[in-house]
Each structure stands twice: as C-alpha cells, then as structure tokens.
C-alpha cells in the first residue's frame, strides 16, 4: 500500500488484547447496572457508566479504526462530526428542558 502510515499498526496479538479490554469494560458496565439496582446512588453509577462507554468508544475509534495511526485530517473529520453532533443535540435537548430533567434523576 502506498498510503503513508505515520505509525506502525498494531499486531493481531494487540488487537486481541484490546478486545479483551473492551469485554472487561462491558462486564464492569453490566455489573454497575446491577449495583445500581441494588441501591447504590444513580448519581455515582450513571456518570461512571458514561465514562466507561466513552472509554470503549475512544478505544475502538483510536485502535480499530486506526485514527491514532492516520493523518490528522481523519481525526479532524471524526472530531468535527462527533463533537459537532454532541454540542448541537445538547443544545436541542436543552431547549426542550430534557437536560434539566435528566440531571434530576
């Protein structure tokens, strides 16, 4: 392939390790769900769940989608698309008063 790759891509072994990490994170998420059922405050559990999901998200994007290894233009498309959508819909939901009610849960 003639395309310039700025860093060497991971080997299969590393991909499998990443997959295991993702599986573990998912397991923790599910465990947290049951912990919350069991009575732990949702204001601790929910932010943690979001952080865990964000972690999985970034890991797949960076390593499986190779964003970490590509030219920065690719990362820019991802960032603009993702954060743009995030900001826009946060404003939309805000206009509906949804964010206020979510925070109260």
């Amino acid at each position: 392939m003639a395309q310039a790759q700025t860093k060497a891509h991971p080997e299969p072994k590393q991909y499998v390790q990443i997959a295991l990490l993702l599986a573990v994170l998912t397991g923790v998420e599910v465990a947290l769900y049951y912990i919350e059922q069991g009575g732990v405050s949702s204001s601790i559990v929910y932010p943690t769940l979001i952080i865990l999901a964000a972690l999985k998200f970034v890991i797949v994007v960076a390593f499986y989608m190779h964003v970490r290894y590509e030219k920065s233009l690719i990362a820019r498309f991802f960032t603009v698309g993702f954060f743009g959508a995030l900001m826009l819909y946060t404003v939309v939901l805000g206009t509906f008063g949804v964010l206020a009610s979510l925070g109260g849960q």
Binding site: M1, Q3, A4, H9, E11, P12, Y15, V16, I18, A19, L22, A23, T26, E29, V30, L32, Y33, Y46, L49, I50, L52, A53, K56, F57, V60, V61, F63, Y64, M65, E70, K71, L73, I74, F77, F78, V80, G81, F82, G84, A85, L86, L88, Y89, V92, L93, F96, V98, S101, L102, Q105
Partner: protein
C-alpha cells in the same frame, strides 16, 4: 497505454486514500443521524403519562449484554480481516470477513428475538404503544438496518474475493472502508447500550 497519464490521474492531494477519506466524510454525517435518533429517545423516554410499558420496563439486560459482547467481538474479527489483507493473506482475510458477517448476523438475530419478545409480552410494547416506544424501535431499528447493510457489504467482499481470486483495490468496494463502517456501527451500539439500556 502510458503510465504517466495513469499516475497523474491518481490524485491524493491529502495523501489519504480517497475511498477511506470518503467513508470518514460519510461517517461524520452519520453522527448527526444517530444523534437525532438518540436525542429523540432521550426526549420521550422520561415523559410521564404514557400508556405502559415504557421501554426501560421491558428490557432484558442479560440478553442484551450478550448481544453487545457479540457485536464488540465482531469488531475484533473485522480488524483482523483488515490486517490480513494488508499482509496479502487472502485466505485469512476471507475467514475473518466471514466470521465478522456471522457475528453480525447473530447480533441481528438477537435483535429480532428481543423485539419479538417485546411485541408479544403480556402488556406488549409495539411501535404504536407510546412515543417512547416509537423512539426506541426507530433508534434500534435503524441501527439494525445499518448492521444488515454492513453484513451485505461484508458478504459482497467475500464474493469479490472468490470471483476475482483476490481482493483488489481496482473495484469500488474496499475492505478498509467497509471496516471503518463496521466499527462505526459498533461504536454507535456502545453508546446505545449504555444510554438506552443501562441508564434508566
């Protein structure tokens, strides 16, 4: 046929392969698409006064967790297929492509089973039960459609590799782009699983 004319025509001003670039461009717009669907669900899911059941009341978390795990593993097989093609190992590429498609189909089967369950509950949850249900089915339904399209693309790649003897980059469909698409579908599910299923 002059090779000079050929090379001059291979334009990659950014140095990024054009189909890969195009897939990223497309995926950045898909964030807006799923963002709207997710916002929709967030808007309706907590509104009081709808006829029962609300989606969060009928979820089967253990089942969906297994589904999520399956989809996550399909990202692994996908990246292994991509890696194998880079090493020009046609047989492994094919194997991993088939594995990814199979895992995708297992996920889809799980979704179908899950939806069928909701619809046949004692107090069923259908598209028309209440707006939250409408939003839930629409969001997860579109995600499922995206998985289905992905499976079709994967199987097409497998077909191309048999037909031409090897996967090449002269045809339009390109494994690296399909891989990006597949991972995208996975990360959307990561978001959906947490925000829709786990956070009530």
């Amino acid at each position: 046929m002059s090779d000079i004319a050929h090379d001059e025509q291979v334009h990659e001003t950014t140095g990024i392969e054009t189909r890969k670039l195009a897939m990223w461009i497309f995926l950045s717009s898909e964030f807006m698409f799923f963002g709207a669907l997710i916002s929709n669900y967030l808007l309706f899911k907590g509104r009081p006064g709808f006829p029962e059941p609300y989606p969060s009341e009928v979820f089967d978390i253990p089942f969906t967790s297994v589904s999520s795990f399956v989809l996550l593993m399909s990202s692994l097989t996908m990246v292994l297929a991509d890696h194998a093609l880079h090493k020009d190992d046609q047989r492994s590429t094919r194997t991993w492509l088939v594995a990814t498609a199979l895992l995708g189909m297992v996920f889809l089967a799980g979704q179908v089973f899950e939806f069928a369950g909701f619809v046949t509950e004692e107090v069923p949850m259908k598209l028309s039960t209440n707006p939250a249900a409408s939003a839930f089915f629409t969001l997860t339904g579109f995600h499922g459609m995206h998985v289905l399209v992905g499976v079709i693309m994967l199987l097409t790649l497998v077909g191309v590799s048999f037909r031409k003897g090897k996967l090449s980059t002269a045809t339009g469909l390109n494994l690296e782009s399909v891989a990006l698409y597949w991972h995208f579908v996975d990360i959307i599910w990561i978001v959906i699983f947490t925000i829709v299923y786990l956070i009530k």
